[in-house]
Symmetry: C2
Subunit: 350 residues, 2 copies
């Protein structure tokens, strides 16, 4: 029986061929290669965990790490020739860590391959509640979910009755922030890139209003139409032109959580934001955050969100592609906005 | 004796001729006119105070109010044909308000003229300490002083040993923030537009380093030279290109207090800021504020700053022009950066 674990198996990997130097991310920037994996933690390797990856999350921040940006921190860039990494859901096959044992389900930072040796398992979280679809831990119950929680509740200190605007609202973070805001009694407007997504925001996620930003020649006017009295809270997932238009429409003491700037990740030169003077006149606070700084809030987040999911008060939409070989295409879909809901790659079904 | 107060006197005023539509503010945008004033609060006019203006403060925010900016709040614009207004120091000549009596010295919001009827004296503060030069209440002991206090202590929550960068550092707000930061034990660097100002920062105000931003082709490199480890706190008085370069050099969890964006007030179209993505990676907080929201802190501010001024631990440099007729020129000087220290107009000497 145990000898099975010593088996050497083939291990497909998504390798970064080259950093994106200019233009959009293409599938050809990545390469599917097949190596081998030994299904056992090497002897004496210490605190190491062997994972069988089940679901991988396509996260906008991966776009930053795949691009050779002059202003970026090059230590964060993915290394050409090596597999890319991100958050995912996995089964523990073997463990040298006292915190994990064979058979555990976990979510956390892993590598885009079938089997991963995790040297620093500090960013793995044990999955305690498996009555929920496991893929949810690559999204609403994983990093994007915690991001929505931190961005909305911790960074923006929302109050009942406030007005909330969300960009990239049908994405993993946006759909949850919108539902949190509705549960709190806020007025919520989202924007997305297609009619289908905008319809979903209203019909499935309960947004009060939504608009297709690509159809609006004047974003300022579109926002004013939805917020005649202005915006208290803006969850910014896109940056750029939308942020500029939002600055014109913030209320006094409005708060902007800078979650992401996906509109900028695929540009060679980031767009200029011109309306920052509004920050002073309107006493606006803009705050960036990384969810990794707030992992200690994960239990509190689960306590809030799990019952709401179970009772059907919070909905979640995923866009799952099948097989690791679908990964590069899924990432490209994300940056072109063609995904509907959280983009996930199913690597293996158990 | 009392009949003296009913006297009608001539009253010089600085009138806005036209809002600035494009280009820089010029003296010709203003007009000196002489009307008359009755040296008595009109019967039955209620809570009204008659002031004899002594000193007027040239404040960067006046530039915003003199310009027809598309993104501005037009309710804040000065009205062509009427005298402009700002903060100043004055003697109460007559009062219908229970809070002020004849002979009181006050600082607060007044009009650019010799005698002003103040309809809403809620923004006037009685001057209790006149062992300090009265002109100081148009600067270090008035709005700019309180702005420095709020921007540094309230918005940036500074800690001993942190690194602090200040733009327009020789101005009224900048010189005081720098001295507050040094008293707290911070490392302080300022930037200004001339060699003379930069020398003052180091010799008079005790800054650790200072540089002439106009002489630096690469602001990013200049900042990196002074802050190899990065910036914890940036007091932004200028916005634009400098803010963009600072964003590249902020430390993790750095704080930016948006006090002013003087580099933008004289532009027809504000410059774009391109490096806002840094806000996320570095978890930066940018917060705008208006000092008028923090008037309740004025006594606390005075308690801190008065002994330091009296003991010579805090220095203050003024650039005073004489006579209301020098006012338009003093304002233009401010926006061209030709003033050395706080730009004040002395209207009358008692």
């Amino acid at each position: 029986m145990e000898s099975e674990l010593h088996e050497v198996v083939s291990n497909k990997q998504v390798i970064l061929r080259d950093l994106v130097e200019s233009g959009s991310l293409k599938e050809s920037h990545m390469l599917l290669m097949t190596g081998t994996a030994k299904l056992k933690v090497p002897e004496g390797s210490g605190n190491v965990v062997l994972l069988k990856n089940l679901f991988l999350s396509c996260n906008p921040s991966m776009g930053v790490r795949m691009r050779n940006m002059k202003v970026g921190n090059s230590a964060l860039f993915f290394k050409p020739g090596l597999p890319i990494s991100g958050y995912g859901v996995a089964r523990v096959l073997d463990s040298g860590s006292p915190n994990f044992k064979k058979g555990d389900l976990v979510w956390g930072l892993t590598t885009w391959e079938e089997y991963s040796l995790i040297i620093a398992p500090g960013t793995l979280f044990k999955i305690e509640h498996d009555d929920i679809p496991l893929s949810y831990y690559a999204g609403i119950l994983g990093m994007p979910g915690l991001t929505a929680y931190v961005g909305f509740f911790e960074i923006c200190s929302p109050k009942k009755g406030e007005t909330v605007f969300i960009s990239a609202a049908s994405g993993a973070v946006g759909q949850l922030v919108g539902q949190f805001a509705k549960l709190l009694g806020c007025y919520v407007v989202g924007t997305a890139g297609t009619k289908e997504k905008v319809n979903l925001l209203k019909s499935k996620f309960g947004f009060d209003e939504a608009f297709i930003y690509k159809d609006e020649p004047d974003l300022d006017a579109a926002i004013k139409r939805c917020f005649p009295e202005g915006i208290d809270i803006y969850l910014d997932n896109v940056g750029g032109r939308m942020l500029d238009a939002v600055l014109l429409n913030m209320k006094i003491r409005g708060r902007i959580a800078a979650c992401g700037m996906i509109s900028q990740y695929n540009l060679d030169q980031p767009e200029g934001v011109h309306n920052l003077m509004k920050i002073i006149q309107k006493r606006i606070r803009i705050e960036g955050f990384l969810t990794t700084d707030h992992f200690h809030l994960y239990p509190k987040f689960l306590e809030l969100v799990l019952p709401q999911i179970r009772e059907g008060n919070i909905h979640y939409l995923e866009d799952i592609t099948n097989g690791l070989e679908s990964g590069p295409g899924a990432l490209v879909r994300l940056f072109s906005g063609r995904n509907i809901g959280k983009q996930v790659v199913a690597v293996a079904h158990e």
